[in-house]
Protein backbone atom coordinates (compact mmCIF):
# COMPACT_ATOMS: atom_id res chain seq x y z
CA UNK A 1 0.00 0.00 0.00
CA UNK A 2 1.53 3.19 -1.21
CA UNK A 3 -0.58 5.63 0.72
CA UNK A 4 -0.34 9.01 2.36
CA UNK A 5 -2.22 8.18 5.54
CA UNK A 6 -1.82 7.88 9.27
CA UNK A 7 -4.01 5.36 11.09
CA UNK A 8 -5.93 3.45 8.38
CA UNK A 9 -8.99 3.36 10.66
CA UNK A 10 -9.03 7.14 10.91
CA UNK A 11 -8.58 8.21 7.29
CA UNK A 12 -11.99 9.91 7.19
CA UNK A 13 -11.33 11.87 10.38
CA UNK A 14 -7.89 12.93 9.17
CA UNK A 15 -9.24 13.95 5.77
CA UNK A 16 -11.98 16.05 7.35
CA UNK A 17 -9.45 17.79 9.55
CA UNK A 18 -7.38 18.75 6.51
CA UNK A 19 -10.36 19.74 4.44
CA UNK A 20 -11.82 21.99 7.10
CA UNK A 21 -8.43 23.55 7.75
CA UNK A 22 -8.01 24.31 4.05
CA UNK A 23 -11.48 25.62 3.24
CA UNK A 24 -12.74 27.66 6.16
CA UNK A 25 -14.54 30.14 3.88
CA UNK A 26 -16.34 27.37 2.06
CA UNK A 27 -17.08 24.62 4.54
CA UNK A 28 -17.50 24.34 8.28
CA UNK A 29 -17.76 21.51 10.74
CA UNK A 30 -20.79 20.92 12.94
CA UNK A 31 -21.41 19.30 16.32
CA UNK A 32 -21.58 16.01 14.46
CA UNK A 33 -18.02 15.34 13.30
CA UNK A 34 -19.42 13.47 10.30
CA UNK A 35 -21.45 16.39 9.01
CA UNK A 36 -19.93 19.21 6.96
CA UNK A 37 -21.94 22.27 6.06
CA UNK A 38 -21.51 25.40 4.03
CA UNK A 39 -19.84 28.00 6.18
CA UNK A 40 -22.97 30.19 5.92
CA UNK A 41 -25.56 27.40 6.28
CA UNK A 42 -28.40 27.40 7.06
CA UNK A 43 -29.32 30.18 4.64
CA UNK A 44 -32.57 31.68 5.90
CA UNK A 45 -35.35 31.51 3.37
CA UNK A 46 -33.53 29.13 1.06
CA UNK A 47 -34.35 25.46 0.52
CA UNK A 48 -31.49 23.43 2.00
CA UNK A 49 -29.70 20.91 -0.21
CA UNK A 50 -28.37 17.84 1.56
CA UNK A 51 -26.47 14.85 0.30
CA UNK A 52 -24.28 12.18 1.75
CA UNK A 53 -22.61 8.88 1.08
CA UNK A 54 -19.57 6.79 1.76
CA UNK A 55 -16.10 8.31 1.66
CA UNK A 56 -13.46 7.40 -0.92
CA UNK A 57 -15.21 9.19 -3.79
CA UNK A 58 -13.62 12.60 -3.21
CA UNK A 59 -14.34 15.29 -4.24
CA UNK A 60 -17.78 13.62 -3.93
CA UNK A 61 -19.68 14.02 -1.73
CA UNK A 62 -18.34 16.63 0.63
CA UNK A 63 -16.48 18.55 -2.08
CA UNK A 64 -19.77 19.81 -3.49
CA UNK A 65 -20.67 21.76 -0.37
CA UNK A 66 -20.55 25.37 -1.47
CA UNK A 67 -22.10 28.33 -3.16
CA UNK A 68 -25.19 27.44 -5.21
CA UNK A 69 -24.59 23.77 -4.58
CA UNK A 70 -24.96 21.56 -1.51
CA UNK A 71 -25.60 23.05 1.95
CA UNK A 72 -24.71 20.09 4.14
CA UNK A 73 -23.34 16.62 3.65
CA UNK A 74 -23.32 13.42 5.73
CA UNK A 75 -19.98 11.65 5.59
CA UNK A 76 -19.72 7.86 5.84
CA UNK A 77 -16.82 5.48 6.31
CA UNK A 78 -15.05 4.52 3.08
CA UNK A 79 -17.58 2.97 0.69
CA UNK A 80 -20.19 2.77 3.48
CA UNK A 81 -23.34 4.78 4.10
CA UNK A 82 -23.29 7.58 6.68
CA UNK A 83 -25.39 6.97 9.77
CA UNK A 84 -29.05 7.95 9.93
CA UNK A 85 -28.11 10.44 12.63
CA UNK A 86 -25.58 12.08 10.32
CA UNK A 87 -28.12 12.43 7.54
CA UNK A 88 -30.52 13.89 10.10
CA UNK A 89 -27.92 16.30 11.44
CA UNK A 90 -27.10 17.37 7.89
CA UNK A 91 -30.78 18.08 7.33
CA UNK A 92 -30.88 20.21 10.45
CA UNK A 93 -27.73 22.04 9.42
CA UNK A 94 -29.18 22.80 5.98
CA UNK A 95 -32.67 23.82 7.01
CA UNK A 96 -33.25 27.50 6.46
CA UNK A 97 -36.96 27.27 7.15
CA UNK A 98 -38.06 26.38 3.63
CA UNK A 99 -37.50 22.67 3.89
CA UNK A 100 -34.71 20.37 2.85
CA UNK A 101 -34.08 18.46 -0.38
CA UNK A 102 -32.06 15.33 0.36
CA UNK A 103 -30.48 14.25 -2.95
CA UNK A 104 -28.56 11.03 -2.69
CA UNK A 105 -27.66 7.81 -4.51
CA UNK A 106 -29.56 4.55 -4.73
CA UNK A 107 -27.69 2.20 -2.41
CA UNK A 108 -29.29 -0.07 0.18
CA UNK A 109 -27.51 1.50 3.13
CA UNK A 110 -28.12 5.07 2.04
CA UNK A 111 -31.78 4.35 1.38
CA UNK A 112 -32.26 2.92 4.85
CA UNK A 113 -30.32 5.59 6.67
CA UNK A 114 -32.09 8.38 4.85
CA UNK A 115 -35.43 6.74 5.63
CA UNK A 116 -34.57 6.69 9.34
CA UNK A 117 -33.19 10.21 9.18
CA UNK A 118 -36.47 11.42 7.72
CA UNK A 119 -38.26 9.75 10.59
CA UNK A 120 -36.08 11.71 12.99
CA UNK A 121 -36.55 14.88 10.96
CA UNK A 122 -40.33 14.54 11.06
CA UNK A 123 -40.20 14.24 14.84
CA UNK A 124 -38.10 17.41 14.90
CA UNK A 125 -40.63 19.22 12.72
CA UNK A 126 -38.44 19.45 9.60
CA UNK A 127 -39.85 19.13 6.10
CA UNK A 128 -37.64 16.85 4.04
CA UNK A 129 -38.17 15.54 0.54
CA UNK A 130 -35.85 13.27 -1.35
CA UNK A 131 -34.64 12.40 -4.81
CA UNK A 132 -32.70 9.19 -5.28
CA UNK A 133 -30.18 9.13 -8.14
CA UNK A 134 -30.39 6.04 -10.32
CA UNK A 135 -28.40 7.06 -13.36
CA UNK A 136 -26.15 4.00 -13.69
CA UNK A 137 -27.56 2.17 -16.70
CA UNK A 138 -25.62 -1.13 -16.41
CA UNK A 139 -26.79 -1.78 -12.85
CA UNK A 140 -30.30 -2.88 -13.87
CA UNK A 141 -32.14 -3.39 -17.15
CA UNK A 142 -34.44 -0.85 -18.72
CA UNK A 143 -37.85 -1.10 -17.12
CA UNK A 144 -36.15 -1.78 -13.79
CA UNK A 145 -34.76 1.76 -13.43
CA UNK A 146 -35.69 1.95 -9.76
CA UNK A 147 -33.02 -0.67 -9.03
CA UNK A 148 -30.24 1.25 -10.70
CA UNK A 149 -27.43 2.72 -8.64
CA UNK A 150 -26.62 6.41 -8.47
CA UNK A 151 -23.21 7.41 -9.79
CA UNK A 152 -21.63 10.59 -11.14
CA UNK A 153 -24.97 11.86 -12.42
CA UNK A 154 -25.65 12.86 -8.82
CA UNK A 155 -23.35 15.82 -9.36
CA UNK A 156 -25.57 17.11 -12.15
CA UNK A 157 -28.61 16.90 -9.89
CA UNK A 158 -26.83 18.78 -7.10
CA UNK A 159 -25.83 21.40 -9.65
CA UNK A 160 -29.29 22.06 -11.05
CA UNK A 161 -31.15 21.72 -7.77
CA UNK A 162 -28.52 23.83 -6.00
CA UNK A 163 -28.94 26.58 -8.59
CA UNK A 164 -32.73 26.37 -8.38
CA UNK A 165 -32.63 26.66 -4.60
CA UNK A 166 -30.19 29.57 -4.79
CA UNK A 167 -32.55 31.38 -7.15
CA UNK A 168 -35.37 31.09 -4.66
CA UNK A 169 -37.06 27.88 -5.80
CA UNK A 170 -39.52 26.32 -3.36
CA UNK A 171 -38.93 22.84 -1.96
CA UNK A 172 -41.28 21.33 -4.51
CA UNK A 173 -39.61 23.21 -7.32
CA UNK A 174 -36.14 22.15 -6.18
CA UNK A 175 -37.25 18.54 -5.87
CA UNK A 176 -38.84 18.66 -9.30
CA UNK A 177 -35.65 20.03 -10.85
CA UNK A 178 -33.51 17.40 -9.15
CA UNK A 179 -35.87 14.65 -10.23
CA UNK A 180 -36.04 15.93 -13.77
CA UNK A 181 -32.26 16.12 -13.91
CA UNK A 182 -31.64 12.59 -12.75
CA UNK A 183 -34.52 11.20 -14.79
CA UNK A 184 -32.86 12.62 -17.89
CA UNK A 185 -29.36 11.49 -16.95
CA UNK A 186 -27.73 8.22 -17.99
CA UNK A 187 -24.31 7.03 -16.83
CA UNK A 188 -21.91 4.17 -17.38
CA UNK A 189 -18.45 3.37 -16.04
CA UNK A 190 -15.51 1.34 -17.25
CA UNK A 191 -13.02 0.05 -14.69
CA UNK A 192 -9.41 -0.82 -15.52
CA UNK A 193 -7.93 -1.54 -12.09
CA UNK A 194 -9.35 -2.08 -8.62
CA UNK A 195 -8.68 -0.11 -5.44
CA UNK A 196 -7.81 -0.81 -1.83
CA UNK A 197 -9.60 0.44 1.26
CA UNK A 198 -6.76 1.45 3.63
CA UNK A 199 -8.27 -0.29 6.67
CA UNK A 200 -8.73 -3.51 4.68
CA UNK A 201 -5.31 -3.45 3.07
CA UNK A 202 -6.09 -5.54 0.01
CA UNK A 203 -8.25 -4.97 -3.06
CA UNK A 204 -11.85 -6.02 -2.49
CA UNK A 205 -12.44 -6.83 -6.13
CA UNK A 206 -10.17 -7.68 -9.00
CA UNK A 207 -9.67 -6.71 -12.63
CA UNK A 208 -6.95 -8.68 -14.39
CA UNK A 209 -4.15 -6.74 -16.05
CA UNK A 210 -5.07 -5.81 -19.60
CA UNK A 211 -8.76 -6.34 -18.89
CA UNK A 212 -11.55 -3.82 -18.53
CA UNK A 213 -14.90 -4.18 -16.80
CA UNK A 214 -17.70 -2.37 -18.63
CA UNK A 215 -20.48 -1.18 -16.37
CA UNK A 216 -18.54 -1.59 -13.13
CA UNK A 217 -19.92 0.23 -10.07
CA UNK A 218 -18.18 2.77 -7.88
CA UNK A 219 -17.34 0.12 -5.31
CA UNK A 220 -16.41 -2.61 -7.76
CA UNK A 221 -19.97 -3.85 -8.20
CA UNK A 222 -19.94 -6.27 -11.15
CA UNK A 223 -20.62 -4.76 -14.56
CA UNK A 224 -22.03 -6.05 -17.82
CA UNK A 225 -18.92 -7.79 -19.04
CA UNK A 226 -15.17 -8.15 -18.72
CA UNK A 227 -13.04 -8.11 -21.84
CA UNK A 228 -9.61 -7.16 -23.12
CA UNK A 229 -8.98 -3.41 -22.96
CA UNK A 230 -9.97 -1.68 -26.18
CA UNK A 231 -8.98 1.74 -27.52
CA UNK A 232 -10.36 4.92 -25.95
CA UNK A 233 -12.36 5.45 -29.10
CA UNK A 234 -13.94 2.02 -28.80
CA UNK A 235 -14.66 2.63 -25.10
CA UNK A 236 -16.41 5.84 -26.08
CA UNK A 237 -18.44 4.00 -28.68
CA UNK A 238 -19.52 1.31 -26.21
CA UNK A 239 -20.46 3.89 -23.60
CA UNK A 240 -22.36 6.16 -25.95
CA UNK A 241 -24.12 3.20 -27.58
CA UNK A 242 -25.28 2.03 -24.16
CA UNK A 243 -26.52 5.40 -22.96
CA UNK A 244 -28.23 6.95 -25.97
CA UNK A 245 -30.95 4.35 -26.60
CA UNK A 246 -31.71 3.98 -22.90
CA UNK A 247 -33.33 7.38 -22.29
CA UNK A 248 -33.57 7.64 -25.35
CA UNK A 249 -31.64 10.73 -26.44
CA UNK A 250 -32.75 12.15 -29.76
CA UNK A 251 -31.08 13.95 -32.61
CA UNK A 252 -31.31 17.67 -31.89
CA UNK A 253 -30.99 17.29 -28.12
CA UNK A 254 -28.69 19.59 -26.22
CA UNK A 255 -26.83 17.71 -23.50
CA UNK A 256 -24.50 18.13 -20.55
CA UNK A 257 -21.63 15.61 -20.59
CA UNK A 258 -19.66 14.68 -17.53
CA UNK A 259 -16.58 12.49 -17.83
CA UNK A 260 -15.05 11.60 -14.51
CA UNK A 261 -11.81 9.78 -13.89
CA UNK A 262 -12.13 7.08 -11.23
CA UNK A 263 -8.99 8.23 -9.43
CA UNK A 264 -5.76 7.11 -11.06
CA UNK A 265 -6.61 7.63 -14.72
CA UNK A 266 -4.72 10.75 -15.86
CA UNK A 267 -6.62 13.80 -17.01
CA UNK A 268 -4.84 13.37 -20.35
CA UNK A 269 -6.71 10.13 -20.91
CA UNK A 270 -10.02 11.62 -19.83
CA UNK A 271 -9.65 14.22 -22.59
CA UNK A 272 -8.68 11.51 -25.07
CA UNK A 273 -11.94 9.79 -24.19
CA UNK A 274 -13.87 13.04 -24.41
CA UNK A 275 -12.60 13.63 -27.96
CA UNK A 276 -14.27 10.41 -29.09
CA UNK A 277 -17.37 10.84 -26.94
CA UNK A 278 -17.96 14.29 -28.40
CA UNK A 279 -17.61 12.88 -31.88
CA UNK A 280 -20.05 10.02 -31.33
CA UNK A 281 -22.56 12.33 -29.67
CA UNK A 282 -22.19 14.72 -32.59
CA UNK A 283 -22.75 11.86 -35.04
CA UNK A 284 -26.00 11.14 -33.23
CA UNK A 285 -27.08 14.75 -33.69
CA UNK A 286 -26.55 15.84 -30.08
CA UNK A 287 -25.01 19.19 -29.11
CA UNK A 288 -22.82 19.28 -26.03
CA UNK A 289 -23.85 22.51 -24.33
CA UNK A 290 -22.10 21.76 -21.02
CA UNK A 291 -18.93 19.64 -21.03
CA UNK A 292 -17.25 18.63 -17.76
CA UNK A 293 -14.06 16.55 -17.71
CA UNK A 294 -12.05 15.73 -14.59
CA UNK A 295 -11.92 13.77 -11.35
CA UNK A 296 -15.43 14.66 -10.18
CA UNK A 297 -16.48 11.37 -8.59
CA UNK A 298 -13.73 8.89 -7.88
CA UNK A 299 -13.22 5.51 -6.26
CA UNK A 300 -9.98 5.88 -4.35
CA UNK A 301 -7.18 4.97 -6.78
CA UNK A 302 -9.20 2.97 -9.28
CA UNK A 303 -8.24 3.38 -12.91
CA UNK A 304 -11.16 3.92 -15.22
CA UNK A 305 -13.72 6.46 -16.29
CA UNK A 306 -17.42 7.19 -16.10
CA UNK A 307 -19.56 8.96 -18.63
CA UNK A 308 -22.80 10.74 -17.74
CA UNK A 309 -25.06 12.41 -20.28
CA UNK A 310 -27.92 14.71 -19.29
CA UNK A 311 -30.65 15.68 -21.75
CA UNK A 312 -31.04 19.40 -21.21
CA UNK A 313 -34.01 21.67 -21.63
CA UNK A 314 -33.81 25.45 -21.34
CA UNK A 315 -34.40 25.35 -17.58
CA UNK A 316 -31.76 22.70 -16.87
CA UNK A 317 -29.24 24.32 -19.20
CA UNK A 318 -29.62 27.59 -17.33
CA UNK A 319 -29.10 25.87 -14.00
CA UNK A 320 -26.11 23.89 -15.30
CA UNK A 321 -24.45 27.10 -16.46
CA UNK A 322 -25.18 29.09 -13.30
CA UNK A 323 -22.12 30.14 -11.27
CA UNK A 324 -21.09 28.00 -8.33
CA UNK A 325 -18.11 27.58 -6.01
CA UNK A 326 -16.97 24.44 -4.24
CA UNK A 327 -13.97 22.14 -4.01
CA UNK A 328 -15.33 19.86 -6.70
CA UNK A 329 -16.75 22.40 -9.12
CA UNK A 330 -16.28 26.14 -9.46
CA UNK A 331 -17.57 28.14 -12.39
CA UNK A 332 -18.34 31.78 -12.86
Amino acid sequence: MNRVINNPDLVVEDMLRGLLAAHAELAAGTDNPRVIKRACAPVAGKVGIVTGGGSGHEPAFLGYVGENLVDAVAVGEIFSSPTAKSFFDAMKAADGGQGVACLYGNYAGDNMNVKMAIKMAERAGLTVKTVVANDDVPSAPKGDEAKRRGVAGEILMWKTAGACAAQGGSLDEVIAVAQKTISRTRSIGIGLTSCTIPAVGKANFHIADGQMEVGIGHHGEPGINVSAIVSADEMARIMVDTLLPDLPFNSGDRVAVLISGLGATPLMEQYILYASVAQYLGNAGLTVAVPLVGNFFTSLEMMGVTLSVLQLDAELEGYMKAPCASIGLTQN
Partner: protein
Protein backbone atom coordinates in the same frame (compact mmCIF):
# COMPACT_ATOMS: atom_id res chain seq x y z
CA UNK B 1 -44.04 -17.79 38.04
CA UNK B 2 -44.88 -14.12 37.56
CA UNK B 3 -46.43 -13.12 34.24
CA UNK B 4 -45.12 -9.55 34.16
CA UNK B 5 -42.00 -7.62 34.90
CA UNK B 6 -41.50 -4.04 35.93
CA UNK B 7 -40.02 -2.12 33.02
CA UNK B 8 -38.28 0.48 35.17
CA UNK B 9 -36.25 -2.24 36.87
CA UNK B 10 -35.40 -4.20 33.74
CA UNK B 11 -32.90 -1.92 32.07
CA UNK B 12 -30.18 -4.52 32.65
CA UNK B 13 -31.67 -6.53 29.81
CA UNK B 14 -30.21 -4.02 27.35
CA UNK B 15 -26.77 -4.50 28.90
CA UNK B 16 -27.22 -8.25 28.48
CA UNK B 17 -27.76 -7.65 24.76
CA UNK B 18 -24.59 -5.56 24.63
CA UNK B 19 -22.65 -8.36 26.33
CA UNK B 20 -23.99 -10.97 23.93
CA UNK B 21 -22.98 -9.01 20.86
CA UNK B 22 -19.54 -8.26 22.23
CA UNK B 23 -19.00 -11.90 23.18
CA UNK B 24 -19.88 -12.94 19.63
CA UNK B 25 -17.98 -10.22 17.81
CA UNK B 26 -15.39 -12.50 16.19
CA UNK B 27 -17.95 -15.24 15.45
CA UNK B 28 -20.27 -12.82 13.62
CA UNK B 29 -17.46 -11.39 11.53
CA UNK B 30 -16.28 -14.87 10.67
CA UNK B 31 -19.71 -15.81 9.36
CA UNK B 32 -19.93 -12.56 7.38
CA UNK B 33 -16.50 -13.27 5.93
CA UNK B 34 -17.76 -16.36 4.09
CA UNK B 35 -20.13 -14.52 1.74
CA UNK B 36 -19.93 -10.89 2.88
CA UNK B 37 -17.13 -8.51 3.73
CA UNK B 38 -16.37 -9.91 7.17
CA UNK B 39 -17.30 -6.90 9.25
CA UNK B 40 -20.68 -7.77 10.76
CA UNK B 41 -19.22 -8.45 14.22
CA UNK B 42 -17.20 -5.25 14.07
CA UNK B 43 -20.19 -3.16 12.98
CA UNK B 44 -22.53 -4.60 15.60
CA UNK B 45 -20.04 -4.48 18.43
CA UNK B 46 -19.18 -0.86 17.61
CA UNK B 47 -22.81 0.22 17.95
CA UNK B 48 -23.71 -1.91 20.95
CA UNK B 49 -20.58 -0.90 22.84
CA UNK B 50 -21.46 2.77 22.35
CA UNK B 51 -24.86 2.04 23.86
CA UNK B 52 -23.41 0.13 26.80
CA UNK B 53 -21.05 3.00 27.52
CA UNK B 54 -23.87 5.54 27.29
CA UNK B 55 -26.10 3.56 29.65
CA UNK B 56 -23.37 2.91 32.18
CA UNK B 57 -22.45 6.59 32.16
CA UNK B 58 -25.90 7.55 33.50
CA UNK B 59 -26.25 8.01 37.29
CA UNK B 60 -29.14 5.55 37.33
CA UNK B 61 -29.58 2.74 34.83
CA UNK B 62 -32.65 3.64 32.77
CA UNK B 63 -35.57 1.24 32.47
CA UNK B 64 -36.12 -1.15 29.59
CA UNK B 65 -38.13 1.20 27.37
CA UNK B 66 -35.66 4.02 27.68
CA UNK B 67 -32.73 1.60 27.42
CA UNK B 68 -34.04 0.15 24.16
CA UNK B 69 -34.58 3.67 22.85
CA UNK B 70 -30.98 4.53 23.72
CA UNK B 71 -29.87 1.37 21.94
CA UNK B 72 -31.88 2.35 18.85
CA UNK B 73 -30.52 5.88 18.82
CA UNK B 74 -26.89 4.87 19.38
CA UNK B 75 -27.15 2.35 16.55
CA UNK B 76 -28.60 5.05 14.30
CA UNK B 77 -25.87 7.37 15.44
CA UNK B 78 -22.96 4.98 15.67
CA UNK B 79 -23.16 2.68 12.67
CA UNK B 80 -23.78 3.57 9.08
CA UNK B 81 -24.19 0.98 6.35
CA UNK B 82 -27.32 -1.13 6.82
CA UNK B 83 -27.05 -2.43 10.38
CA UNK B 84 -27.61 0.97 11.94
CA UNK B 85 -31.01 1.56 10.35
CA UNK B 86 -32.13 -2.09 10.44
CA UNK B 87 -31.43 -2.82 14.10
CA UNK B 88 -32.05 0.82 14.92
CA UNK B 89 -35.61 0.55 13.67
CA UNK B 90 -36.05 -2.84 15.34
CA UNK B 91 -35.17 -1.52 18.76
CA UNK B 92 -36.97 1.74 18.12
CA UNK B 93 -40.08 -0.32 17.37
CA UNK B 94 -39.72 -2.22 20.63
CA UNK B 95 -39.10 0.96 22.60
CA UNK B 96 -42.05 2.80 21.09
CA UNK B 97 -44.42 -0.02 22.09
CA UNK B 98 -43.12 -0.16 25.62
CA UNK B 99 -43.11 3.59 26.13
CA UNK B 100 -45.68 4.77 28.67
CA UNK B 101 -46.11 1.32 30.18
CA UNK B 102 -45.13 0.32 33.70
CA UNK B 103 -45.09 -3.43 33.25
CA UNK B 104 -44.30 -5.82 30.46
CA UNK B 105 -46.71 -8.67 29.97
CA UNK B 106 -47.03 -11.32 27.29
CA UNK B 107 -49.42 -9.28 25.15
CA UNK B 108 -47.31 -6.14 25.27
CA UNK B 109 -44.21 -8.12 24.37
CA UNK B 110 -46.03 -9.53 21.36
CA UNK B 111 -47.09 -6.07 20.31
CA UNK B 112 -43.58 -4.71 20.75
CA UNK B 113 -42.03 -7.58 18.81
CA UNK B 114 -44.46 -7.09 15.94
CA UNK B 115 -43.76 -3.35 15.96
CA UNK B 116 -40.01 -3.92 15.86
CA UNK B 117 -40.25 -6.42 13.02
CA UNK B 118 -42.49 -4.02 11.11
CA UNK B 119 -39.82 -1.35 11.51
CA UNK B 120 -37.18 -3.63 9.98
CA UNK B 121 -39.56 -4.56 7.20
CA UNK B 122 -40.30 -0.92 6.34
CA UNK B 123 -36.68 0.10 6.32
CA UNK B 124 -35.14 -2.95 4.69
CA UNK B 125 -37.93 -4.27 2.43
CA UNK B 126 -36.53 -7.80 2.70
CA UNK B 127 -38.77 -10.86 2.51
CA UNK B 128 -38.50 -14.19 4.26
CA UNK B 129 -36.25 -16.31 2.08
CA UNK B 130 -33.95 -13.46 1.03
CA UNK B 131 -31.31 -14.73 3.47
CA UNK B 132 -31.34 -11.83 5.91
CA UNK B 133 -32.30 -11.21 9.50
CA UNK B 134 -35.93 -11.35 8.40
CA UNK B 135 -35.52 -15.13 8.21
CA UNK B 136 -35.02 -15.12 11.97
CA UNK B 137 -37.44 -12.33 12.84
CA UNK B 138 -40.58 -13.29 10.96
CA UNK B 139 -40.83 -16.92 12.14
CA UNK B 140 -40.10 -15.69 15.67
CA UNK B 141 -42.96 -13.17 15.54
CA UNK B 142 -45.32 -15.73 14.02
CA UNK B 143 -44.50 -18.42 16.57
CA UNK B 144 -44.92 -16.02 19.49
CA UNK B 145 -48.28 -14.80 18.17
CA UNK B 146 -49.48 -18.38 17.62
CA UNK B 147 -48.40 -19.43 21.10
CA UNK B 148 -50.39 -16.59 22.70
CA UNK B 149 -53.39 -17.42 20.54
CA UNK B 150 -53.16 -20.98 21.80
CA UNK B 151 -53.18 -19.72 25.39
CA UNK B 152 -49.52 -20.23 26.24
CA UNK B 153 -48.09 -18.23 29.13
CA UNK B 154 -45.40 -15.54 28.63
CA UNK B 155 -42.41 -17.78 29.26
CA UNK B 156 -43.70 -20.62 27.12
CA UNK B 157 -44.45 -18.22 24.30
CA UNK B 158 -40.88 -16.96 24.53
CA UNK B 159 -39.62 -20.55 24.31
CA UNK B 160 -41.71 -21.11 21.19
CA UNK B 161 -40.41 -17.84 19.75
CA UNK B 162 -36.79 -18.90 20.27
CA UNK B 163 -37.34 -22.32 18.77
CA UNK B 164 -38.82 -20.74 15.66
CA UNK B 165 -36.09 -18.11 15.53
CA UNK B 166 -33.44 -20.82 15.65
CA UNK B 167 -35.11 -22.77 12.89
CA UNK B 168 -35.41 -19.65 10.76
CA UNK B 169 -31.82 -18.75 11.40
CA UNK B 170 -30.64 -22.25 10.43
CA UNK B 171 -32.79 -22.15 7.32
CA UNK B 172 -30.57 -19.39 5.91
CA UNK B 173 -27.86 -21.99 5.31
CA UNK B 174 -29.82 -23.44 2.41
CA UNK B 175 -30.93 -20.11 0.98
CA UNK B 176 -29.50 -18.08 -1.86
CA UNK B 177 -29.00 -14.45 -0.86
CA UNK B 178 -31.28 -12.12 -2.79
CA UNK B 179 -30.47 -8.90 -0.97
CA UNK B 180 -27.41 -7.22 0.51
CA UNK B 181 -23.77 -7.76 -0.30
CA UNK B 182 -23.98 -11.58 -0.51
CA UNK B 183 -26.59 -11.37 -3.27
CA UNK B 184 -23.79 -10.61 -5.71
CA UNK B 185 -22.51 -14.16 -5.27
CA UNK B 186 -25.70 -15.75 -6.62
CA UNK B 187 -25.67 -19.51 -6.08
CA UNK B 188 -22.31 -19.35 -4.38
CA UNK B 189 -24.06 -17.81 -1.35
CA UNK B 190 -25.82 -21.12 -0.63
CA UNK B 191 -24.34 -23.39 2.05
CA UNK B 192 -23.44 -21.00 4.83
CA UNK B 193 -25.44 -19.17 7.48
CA UNK B 194 -26.39 -15.52 7.07
CA UNK B 195 -24.57 -13.17 9.41
CA UNK B 196 -27.51 -10.87 10.15
CA UNK B 197 -29.81 -13.83 10.82
CA UNK B 198 -27.20 -15.10 13.25
CA UNK B 199 -26.86 -11.90 15.25
CA UNK B 200 -30.62 -11.61 15.25
CA UNK B 201 -31.05 -15.06 16.76
CA UNK B 202 -28.48 -14.25 19.44
CA UNK B 203 -30.34 -11.02 20.25
CA UNK B 204 -33.75 -12.69 20.50
CA UNK B 205 -32.36 -15.54 22.57
CA UNK B 206 -30.73 -13.14 25.02
CA UNK B 207 -33.83 -10.98 25.16
CA UNK B 208 -36.08 -13.98 25.88
CA UNK B 209 -33.68 -15.47 28.41
CA UNK B 210 -33.29 -12.22 30.32
CA UNK B 211 -37.05 -11.67 30.41
CA UNK B 212 -37.69 -15.24 31.57
CA UNK B 213 -35.08 -14.89 34.29
CA UNK B 214 -36.97 -11.84 35.62
CA UNK B 215 -40.29 -13.65 35.44
CA UNK B 216 -38.71 -15.94 38.05
Amino acid sequence: MAQTLTLKQSGQIVLDLVDTINANRAYLSEIDGAIGDGDHGINMSKGFTLCGDALRAKPVLPGLAEGLDTLAMTLLEGIGGSMGPLYGSFFMGLAESLAGHETLDAALFGEALANGVAGVETVGSAQVGDKTLMDTLVPAREAYRAALAEGADFSTALDRMIAAAEQGWQSTKGLQARIGRAARLGERSIGVLDAGATSCFLILKTLAGSVQQRLG
